[in-house]
Symmetry: C2
Subunit: 281 residues, 2 copies
DNA sequence: TCGCGCCGGCGCG
DNA sequence: TCGCGCCGGCGCG
């Protein structure tokens, strides 16, 4: 069937979803309505895919949900910045094998991070490992320095999805200490085990930031923010995400600091815009 | 079919696996051979179950694998202690809603942990949350104080599974500072995201321990160990699990300390015995 | 080929 | 009822 261009079959005839094409084709190139529930929408898209090919595994849909959710948030962030209603921009990041987030900093700070990693490994065989955050928040200043065209995204096309997911490349080696405002951990859904990946990531990013600050005698820094966004969040999630960044509780000198600064439920493009205007201003 | 006592159907006719019974019945009450690969074994058990009822979902099997793996490690630990070849005992822990690990400590230390949690929450609305570790390692001394019968487990029965998974109850309020030697994070398999739950847990348990030590002026403490065990471990897993406990890198005074002290691949009862004799001695 | 980071569907108390 | 903590099956570079 020609319509099924977003489901392919590999050499073993296992169906494989092309995540970008699937989203664009099923939505006919249109962004979801502003108030459409993404929980509902993704279930409908799942049903469409399963109706096309019942052999599609749940794991494939799980995988797609993660990207779809990031794409829609990435578009909301871009459009908000283009409209002039956001001071800063949230950028989708690829995985850590594809991109080292430290290289967003200019050479000076990037080298300090390299140096920190090396020294820690060399002295004690201990590492500073977390997954790449889903989004990085960069300052509007650096965005205007590095990007020249600011057109809103009004259509869901694979070109547009490719644009927002590779935008980060424009910012390599271009951020000063204050140009990386923070990160966002994004999950389509939470579980009591998986949600702890967020405080881990927040803790590590903040510990590295504190180290940068110390090494450079930066007095009274702005601080690094780490936010979490999911389609649905309950009270236990909120409580767990208030977990302390452990580097801040061993001495009495510092106030204990949360690993995740704020947690937001975002289940539609409208709420994405609302939440991002709070985070990005 | 009468044989299917370990697959039940709820009111909506959805099949449900009784995890304990399933393991015992499928293995006919026998422990796996010492050199049987658990990866292979679990796949065979999955196939048996799916052959009985094709509607069993992968999620149900995932859930069962976690328990089966813990049961077998719990039995190996018990038998090792009973045989006299282990100084300490690793106990299966339930989830955090069912049991607060802090209550394993005697009243004095338990109250300090309560106090720490309260003060942190009251002062800064920040929490100290992680999932319960899968296993706690308690000293042989306290085991001999609290348990009177030491029979090896030679059969897989639901009674025996119930025994090893509720043994922890014997140790409530009975551990001094040095009687909780450490914890073990156990996962049947790892993924690059899920494996980070282990350093998070290790980091938090160690930060709490350091706090106990500080509050009690304990000089030169033994330290708290956090181990990780999985059926299969690759180089990236090992590297990620060497991630630093972040509380140990903010000051120059302490040596950076790993959140996870050692990582072991355990894919058979024999290797379980080998690894546990290293951890528990 | 494999490492990354994705997430839903559990059994149980 | 729901919170806990379980984990495999992805699409992609």
């Amino acid at each position: 069937m020609a319509l099924l261009s977003y489901i392919r079959r590999n050499r073993k005839l296992v169906p494989q979803i092309n995540k970008d094409e699937a989203l664009c084709e099923m939505l006919n190139g249109n962004l979801p309505e502003g108030d459409t529930s993404l929980i509902t929408l993704f279930k409908e898209l799942d049903n469409t895919i399963k109706a096309e090919d019942a052999n599609v595994k749940d794991g494939a849909l799980n995988n797609a949900h993660g990207d779809w959710y990031e794409y829609l948030l990435g578009i909301a962030s871009w459009n908000l910045f283009v409209s002039g209603d956001a001071a800063n921009l949230a950028l989708i990041l690829p995985n850590i094998r594809q991109f080292d987030v430290a290289t967003l900093y200019n050479e000076e700070f990037c080298n300090i991070i390299y140096d920190l990693r090396e020294k820690i490994v060399a002295s004690t065989d201990v590492e500073l490992i977390t997954s790449n955050p889903d989004f990085v928040i960069v300052s509007g200043d650096v965005v205007r320095q590095r990007v020249s065209e600011f057109e809103p995204i009004t259509e869901l096309t694979t070109e547009n999805l490719n644009f927002i997911s590779s935008l980060y490349q424009s910012f390599v080696n271009s951020c000063g200490f204050d140009d990386i405002i923070g990160y966002i951990g994004v999950k389509a859904s939470l579980r009591p085990d998986r949600r702890l990946q967020l405080p881990h990531e927040g803790s590590l990013m903040k510990a590295i930031y504190v180290h940068l600050q110390t090494r450079n005698w930066i007095i009274d820094p702005k601080g690094l923010k780490y936010y979490a966004i999911s389609r649905s969040i309950n009270d236990s999630d909120r409580k767990a995400l208030r977990t302390v960044a452990t580097h801040s509780i061993t001495t009495v000198h510092n106030e204990p600091q949360a690993a995740v600064d704020e947690v937001y439920a975002v289940d539609s493009l409208n709420s994405a815009t609302d939440v991002l205007s709070r985070i990005l201003n």
